[in-house]
Amino acid sequence: MNGYGGKILRVNLTEGKITQEPIPAQLARDFIGGRGFGIYFLFKEVPKHADPLGPENKLIISTGPLSGMLAPGGGKCDWTTKSPLTGGYADASLGGHFTAEMKYAGLDTIILEGASPNPVYLFIDNDKIQLLDASSLWGKGAIDVEVELKNKYGEEFQIAAIGPGGENQVLYACINHDFGRQAGRGGVGAVMGSKKVKAIVLHGTKTVPVADMDGYRKAGMALYKACKDAEGLAEWSRYGTTVVTSWCDEVGALPTRNFSAGSFEQGSNIYGQTMRKEIVVTDKGCFGCPSPCGKYSNMKRYNTQVEGPEYETIGMMGSNLGVGDIQAVAEANRLADDLGIDSISAGGCIGWAMECYEKGIFTKADTDGLELKFGNLDAVFALIKKIAYREGKMGNLLALGTKRAAQQVGQGSEKFAIQVKGMEQSAYATHNATAMLLAYMTCDVGAHHNRSWAITYDLQVGRDKVVPEKVARIIWLQNFRPMFDVMGSCRLQWVELGIDRDLYCPLLESITGIKRTWEDLEAVGNRIWNLTRMYWARENEGFGREWDLPAPRFYTEPPKTGVTAGQITKFEDVQKLLDMYYQQRGWNSDGIPTQGTLEILNLSAMVA
């Protein structure tokens, strides 16, 4: 099939059985790939109310038609599962070079199902596919394992591995690849660990058929030319996502001390320009990337190196923990990567624990003796390790995420557990940015920014305005932006360089032979969005409006310092945002898609 490797690889870990099946043409037409394939298989194949860390859950890895192709940043695949962190839908996008090799091995989707009795790794070299013993790798760091497997098989093999965090089923464990890229959020690494899969090693040399080779070359080159000609290419490439750190600080969006404020008095110590001067060694891009946002950094004080930190980690493990030291943030990033835990959720959990300590809810008896004050670097490093190994009372508690931890601890700590649906909010403070707040409230994996990002829109329209246009903007972004995760390419060329998104349509058509406009693609995005919503409703009794509420901090506690001091979103405005959102989405007042909406989207039969 044009644009596809053509095969689904199914690995039954319980039985050690490996099978392949062709990708159904109807599936490719209706769901295209990536997270579209992910939710399709998750909804269809994982039984209702499956234990996320039990053998019934599946880990579904899917490329898209742009993956591995002449498309800027066409190195993305999507890891979909039932999240152990949230109990709902999760997908995590992975960059690097894994995706292209997977496609060249002829695979569009890999489904890991069941659970192995012993540690294994999945080895794929074109048609040679085996489950191999990983007992000597179990217990090792994800980066160490990547080095070991690269040395064993060669540089052309791409490796995705979990660290101890995944093995120990930390609920927000991630999957590492390419020495610093992650499928980061929602606990995909914990699911891989529950299946006793330490790593996937793969390499492929097959070709991918395209419908129109001349059109493909022209459309691909047009996209690369647009990137090359884009104003800002040099600046974005030099600083990556850290460009925005100083800006977030200025506009009150930089999470500070567990999101109690949006500006950090030591902010300049962690800005992109400081990082570039102090620790960055060189730039690093993923497969086919014309605008490398990755940065290799050398932390002289610790004699260590890392890819990163990027903005989210700087926000969550820097200002959010009161750490104004870029080398320390980078070292925390390295620890989290190697130990295999999501740096965003880890930063959220540690920030919550520090606030508990400073408020007297925790004492040293609770923290295994750690002085959990904001800014205490030793405590940050120690907690990352304790979480990954589920060591002691605090490590075990924080491995559960802030929602569950706060439910256990009580004493009002739920109010400053900064999460939605159980997922820790990523690094944009939203005390007074109503569109961005709504984006977090309604994101289909929990409080994550990548589906829709709207702080600039808040600043343009008026940050406290609660108007239908803002809601419409969020819905449009939610339907549109995740389509990059469906097609299998990076969104940053559109996000940062501002290249014309219409250039993607002829490329997609030349590859697949199917003509699609952005209107068509957004319709697919809308369909997927509604299906992920129905998955949440199916898996969680009583799912509804309450699940979409933000952390109470954003409507009860205005920051005392910074540019958003004294500012807050009123709770009635939070409810008004939801009313408008549900109405515009065609959902009922409890946030469930109506039968009419499901029929229009041709989803009725699937969700019945």
């Binding site: 600083y239 925005v244 100083s246 800006w247 200025e250 989210e312 920014h449 343009q460 559109w494 996000v495």
Partner: protein, 84 residues
């Protein structure tokens, strides 16, 4: 009578808003401003909302908006387009 000519030396910097920020200077490629004032003061004067400027790059190095412009500086202003 001293008939020697008097010269007024004006120190200037060049501002280049990129992408959508160009609309604030009539879609021109660049504009020249007096040096000696901060980037923040300068961009407010030419009508750009500083909150919409994510990155200030002076001679290719990122700087804060408090940076005081020097003679001959070339300043690129970058907007946040789509976020993270």
């Amino acid at each position: 009578m001293n008939l020697e000519p008097h010269y007024i030396i004006v120190m200037t910097a060049t501002i280049r808003p990129l992408g959508m920020l160009k609309t604030y200077i009539g879609e021109l490629k660049e504009t020249t401003v007096e040096a000696g004032q901060s980037v923040r003061e300068t961009i407010i004067k030419i009508g750009i909302n500083p909150d919409l400027v994510a990155g200030v790059f002076v001679n290719d190095e990122q700087q804060n908006k408090d940076y005081v412009l020097q003679d001959g500086d070339i300043v690129k202003l970058l907007a946040v387009i789509g976020g993270g």
